[in-house]
Subunit: 383 residues, 2 copies
């Protein structure tokens, strides 16, 4: 017998985390299990559930799962095209993260897990044996006396070159995403590590702020939680966009320029964003042409009416715009529900003779596309 | 009408993140809502569910919730004693995180959300207006050619004092916790920020490694996912403990000493851990007395039999042990299921005349207690 007292203690420590009031844990579940042929088995323990389905961005429709004698539901799907996909389980009609998987999608409204299908050659976001940058969580003095948080990528070697200064890319995620989403789902740190290792992108700092500043301010000041940030209420939506821009310009950029070794000029400052973050990007860039020379709009746009109303000088003085903006990147997927709006924005820019770099991809309004857009646009920055 | 095209676009961007195959989102849900009197309303949208209960470490038993006309289940509980608590919803018998709450408990086996009830005077982990340190995610060369990840706290001013060196506290979380748990649930960054601001703790670096190295190695090398890490299988449990210790000593500490400005001596190196991490702490410390002078075991222990078998010199040569260890902290809660084992460990140390600092608290095997233990032991370190 090799089962020592120590080992018995180890076994006792299994209930480390959570409440005594939880349902019994039951058997150990492995999920997801990714096979060499890129098929994947998903498993979920729910002995009492009636109907369990797998929902994921690699599926056209939820896939029914079947229950074994232990109460573990499972389904094997694929092969799946290599990428990182959000998924969850639909358990008797409710959406549930995969309890056996720590990879998750930070979001204020839904919970999803992530499955990573590796490519035969490593994908652009793969964890490779190259020098790695660091991702840091920073707390900064934000507007109205509140404390904000930033996620900041510094490139490999940042700490080893104590005099070198770097350009900065501000990167803003979508509605109900958080400041963690570009890190945890977008994998911008690994994308940049890989691009830099191959000399395809300039070493840069990437700053990921939180998009819904108005909500954080309200919460920290003890005010009632703000209304639905996805609502179409006009004044409220504009005031939220302004709160973000004001915080970015007056607090975030000065904090970053003070606390990181930045090239603190417009020519060394880029801004990009996805979805709502793309709208915030265009507003912040067009409204502060002294601050940003490089602009990336991923799956987002401003309407011609809004351009004429709020940023008329962009189109009315194209020579000046083209001189000031070293890059205006606009990308969207063919299946994106914002495809029409984005191509209309492209047509507007073309008619006004504003230079921009269009990229129409396959796929929809997804983080698979966001990774692709970052990987294709970051190499252009600061050149 | 102030609803401009831009605002309509904002509203369209609401579906930013996830699959078309998700159930309809339904009404906006605010949860949890913490009131000034420390009562809290929890809400969960599930029109088709039959029975929904709230489960949380502030409750003795799950609390039934009631459904409104929109299908939102809710319950108001409290007042609740100020602290951070894990909770989730039990929806027709399954455990579900709160979709409306981004604060979550990183764990490999269960999913829980976190609710933070502020104190009338700020608790030790509160986000206060003091200088803040930085929490960084690092990728390091681990054993067997794999890449490991670390979460690293650097104290306020670390980047401003380019010649100052700091002591290091290695901090290991429990079974099925991850390297993020001491950050996201334990709030060690805010605890240290606050202690340092009040001159109650020495500025230090805190390194939080991942405890289940064997599983990560297997996964990265494409091997089958390892067996249940909570199993009591003897050889497997010991081999897992050794894999962690080997990685810590041969890879993690050299990486940290190379990449951070550390005082790289045993007198300036502490190790602590919770639950399984406490067992790993005691083994790593007693097995490597040249590496650590400060040792903190939170809600954990080694049995007298295991002490005699594997670490006999600790008790047989107490004068040497007491000279080498500047602190041996052992704490446990009165309701902890490891209370008897931990007090037996204390009795063993006492009988052997090994100096240690005991602390018996109220409560059980919880992260509320872990925060308390960190807050009370960190001030003693490196003095």
């Amino acid at each position: 017998m090799k089962i020592s007292t120590f080992n018995l203690i180890i076994s006792l420590l299994l209930v480390a985390g959570f409440a005594q009031s939880q349902p019994p844990r039951g058997p150990w579940v492995i999920s997801p299990e990714v096979y060499a042929d890129k098929s994947v088995t998903f498993r979920y323990l729910a002995p009492e559930a009636q109907v369990v389905k797998l929902s994921g961005q690699f599926l056209k429709a939820p896939s029914p799962m079947t229950k074994d004698a232990q109460g573990i539901w499972s389904v094997t799907v694929g092969p799946i095209a290599p990428d990182i996909y959000p998924y969850n389980f639909q358990v008797d009609g409710i959406s549930v993260m995969d309890p056996a998987n720590v990879a998750f999608f930070p979001n204020e409204r839904f919970k999803a897990s992530l499955v990573d299908i590796p490519g035969d050659t490593p994908l652009v976001h793969a964890l490779k044996d190259v020098p790695h940058g660091t991702v840091s969580y920073e707390y900064y003095p934000s507007v109205s006396g509140t404390t904000g948080s930033l996620v900041v990528y510094t490139p490999p070697g940042y700490d080893k070159n104590p005099t070198k200064k770097y350009p900065v890319f501000y990167l803003i995620s979508g509605t109900t995403d958080t400041e963690e989403t570009f890190f945890k789902v977008g994998k911008v740190n690994f994308i940049l590590d890989n691009l830099i290792a191959e000399n395809k992108a300039k070493p840069m700092i990437i700053v990921m702020p939180y998009g819904n500043v108005a909500a954080r301010v309200a919460e920290q000041r003890g005010a009632a939680k703000p209304a639905d940030p996805t609502s179409r209420d006009g004044d409220d939506a504009v005031s939220r966009a302004r709160a973000f821009e004001n915080d970015l310009i007056s607090q975030v950029i000065p904090y970053v320029d003070k606390n990181y070794r930045t090239e603190a000029t417009r020519d060394s400052r880029a801004i990009g964003g996805f979805s709502r973050g793309g709208g915030q990007t265009l507003r912040a860039a067009f409204g502060n042409m002294d601050k940003f020379a490089w602009v990336c709009s991923y799956s987002s746009y401003l309407s011609p009416a809004e351009m004429d109303k709020s940023f008329g000088q962009i189109g009315s003085q194209p020579d000046q715009t083209n001189k000031q903006l070293k890059l205006l990147w606009v990308s969207v997927g063919k299946d994106d529900f914002l495809y029409n709006g984005t191509t209309e924005f492209m047509e507007y820019l073309k008619a006004k003779k504003v230079d921009f770099k269009p990229y129409i991809s396959e796929g929809g309004h997804t983080w698979m596309n966001v990774k692709d857009y970052v990987a294709k646009s970051a190499p252009i920055l600061f050149r």
